[in-house]
């Protein structure tokens, strides 16, 4: 991926040697980040017996797609050990997508409203309100799980995606509000005032003027909400019980604690669970970094 400049070997020179050193360090970082993930990825293409060899087989000798096929046709001829868990994979993925997207959208709507008010309006109780938002984030999830379970049970929402979405929204909102508030504050007020001059209503101003400018902030807030919902295991495992609402992490953790499941199949499940967030992270990389750094941390 990186080639040493040729004059490193010939003319020497401090500068190019330094560049070479930096490039080597860069390779070391890339290997550190990539190696564990590559191992997972490679294993997903191995036959089970190849994955269990000693000494370790690094590159699959007989690469196969059979595990990927198993997930998409779980009950066919490919039904392997762990086939039942494999059947839950696709519904799990759909549930995860709905839960994560629902959480992201709800976050944007609620977060924009509250974030705007904290960024632009001066009102009594503002500081206290921000305190309540941030304070509610300080309580670890494990502390809420029992009362939350009982509350959602009373509301008849157990094993529904709606229970997951509302829970995730509650946990992600404080960060979204904080990030959007800070992001809105970086946008000049004159923009809004000009929109009002042109006769826009508040809502028109918000949709046509402010939100397009705040796009990096909105994208990174939505991404964080999406990731939190997609990654959560603790709440999902307590609040869901059937394929009606089981999310991917619950299905995958089901593999992990079931000794009969083939490891290669587990690896495939892991890879499938990674693809959507990975795609989003790389797709929106620039916007995420931009929104996060100007929104979450201020000069």
């Amino acid at each position: 991926m990186s080639t040493l400049p040729i004059h490193f070997f010939t003319a020497g020179g401090r500068r190019s040697r330094r560049t070479a050193f930096l490039a080597l360090a860069g390779i070391a970082v890339a290997v550190y980040i990539l190696a564990p993930f590559c191992w997972l990825l490679l294993t997903s293409f191995m036959h089970e017996r190849d994955a269990l060899t000693v000494p370790t087989q690094w590159i699959p000798q007989h690469p196969t797609l059979e595990h990927y096929r198993t997930f998409f046709h779980p009950s066919g001829a490919n039904a392997l050990v762990g086939g039942r868990a494999a059947e839950e994979m696709l519904p799990g993925m759909v549930n995860s997508l709905f839960a994560a997207l629902g959480t992201a959208v709800a976050n944007l709507v609620l977060g924009t409203l509250a974030g705007y008010s904290l960024a632009r309006l001066r009102f009594r109780g503002q500081g206290a309100l921000l305190g309540v938002y941030l304070g509610s984030r300080m309580v670890p999830g494990i502390a809420l799980i029992v009362p939350l379970y009982l509350t959602l049970k009373n509301l008849g929402m157990l094993d529904h995606l709606s229970a997951l979405i509302t829970t995730y929204v509650t946990f992600t909102l404080p960060f979204t509000i904080w990030l959007l508030k800070n992001y809105f504050q970086t946008i000049p007020r004159s923009l809004e005032e000009a929109a009002f001059m042109d006769g826009c209503s508040w809502l028109q101003m918000l949709i046509k003027v402010l939100l397009p400018v705040a796009m990096p902030g909105l994208v990174s807030a939505a991404m964080f909400a999406f990731m939190t919902a997609w990654n959560d295991y603790l709440f999902a495992v307590i609040l869901t019980s059937t394929t009606a609402s089981k999310t991917l992490p619950v299905v995958v953790a089901g593999f992990a604690t079931d000794v009969t499941t083939q490891r290669t199949l587990m690896a495939t499940g892991g890879v499938l669970a990674i693809i959507p967030p990975l795609a989003l992270a790389f797709l929106f990389q620039r916007l995420i970094v931009q929104g996060l750094t100007s929104g979450a941390v201020k000069d």
């Binding site: 980040i33 990539l34 000494p55 008010s117 938002y133 029992v146 669970a273 000069d299």
Partner: protein, 312 residues
């Protein structure tokens, strides 16, 4: 940097918003949906949890719901499990946060320099962030595996290890294994935040200092570190919270074992609540964890506010 707590100067009079709403009512209206969600699903459960923690309430004997005051808390504070798990939590958190901060600074410093392939490494660094903790745990469980794991395979083939060993079956190596798995997944956020802080340091500062004959370590000590301090504190807060809450990765990787070697406070709370079905003590544990987290958060915030580095 702006002074602390300074909000943009308020307009002289309480103006009525252009749309015609009274400003204060409008502000609360905008906050109503968020507040409602947080009250129902955060504030209420927190209070409910406190109420349960004052009762004897064990699902194995569901009818014995009895008010016992703070005796659950006293039981916990007198139990050796609490102090063991507290100590393990401290070890785990300190190790994770230290490694994340040191590695985060080093990688951010590297990515702030020009070298071939930099853009690619910058993108790659995001990778662990996109991996769900459960999958992360699964992945490392496998790498550490005693019989066929990649770590054993690698170390033996490099001649660094005589024979395969069970990394997750001795107390010290299990804790370290857990720490490394967590550090790997927490690094991206630290790198992003620190790198963007580095990019905001004006280059003239370094030039001026070099003119004055400052050494490299002096440049780092007197320019880089102070400019990094705010982001560093944000990273410290975020990573401490994450480490204190770690659950998924422990669940998949070690389940608190071997013995109690990786039983952190969070895991102990989980065990008390869901293995022993002792909701009274479980919620008391949960409250103790919350109080510790809150105290740490307040301490960090005090440092941040005290330095005038962050705005309300």
């Amino acid at each position: 940097m702006r002074p602390s707590l300074s909000l943009p100067a308020a307009k002289p009079r309480q103006r009525v918003n252009r749309v015609g709403y009274d400003r204060r009512a409008f502000a609360w209206l905008l906050n109503a949906p968020a507040l409602l969600a947080i009250c129902v699903l955060s504030a209420f459960p927190i209070a409910y949890s406190a109420w349960i923690s004052l009762h004897r309430y064990n699902l194995q004997r569901p009818h014995a719901f009895k008010f016992v005051g703070i005796s659950n808390y006293i039981d916990i504070l007198q139990s050796p499990e609490f102090w063991t798990s507290l100590w393990i939590t401290v070890e785990y958190t300190v190790l994770v946060v230290m490694l994340v901060v040191v590695l985060g600074i080093l990688i951010a410093l590297l990515l702030n320099r020009e070298f071939p392939g930099r853009a690619m490494v910058r993108t790659l660094v995001l990778l662990p962030w996109a991996i769900p903790p459960v999958v992360n745990g699964l992945m490392w469980q496998w790498i550490y595996d005693a019989k066929v794991g990649a770590l054993n395979g690698l170390l033996v083939s490099l001649g660094l290890l005589d024979q395969y060993r069970g990394w997750l079956s001795t107390p010290t190596s299990a804790l370290l294994a857990l720490v490394f798995a967590e550090v790997w997944s927490l690094l991206p956020l630290a790198v992003i935040l620190l790198l963007s802080a580095l990019q905001r340091i004006p280059a003239e500062l370094y030039e001026a200092a070099r003119m004055d004959g400052a050494s490299k370590s002096q440049l780092f000590r007197y320019i880089t570190l102070p400019w990094l301090s705010q982001s560093l504190l944000v990273v410290l807060i975020l990573q401490t919270m994450s480490a204190l809450r770690a659950f998924d990765v422990i669940y998949v990787l070690t389940a608190g074992g071997p013995g109690t070697a990786t039983t952190t406070l969070t895991w102990q709370t989980y065990l008390t609540t869901f293995s022993n079905l002792d909701f009274g003590h479980g919620n008391a544990y949960a409250w103790l964890v919350s109080l510790i987290t809150l105290a740490l958060a307040l301490a960090y915030f005090k440092v941040l506010y005290g330095r005038g580095d962050i705005e309300a």
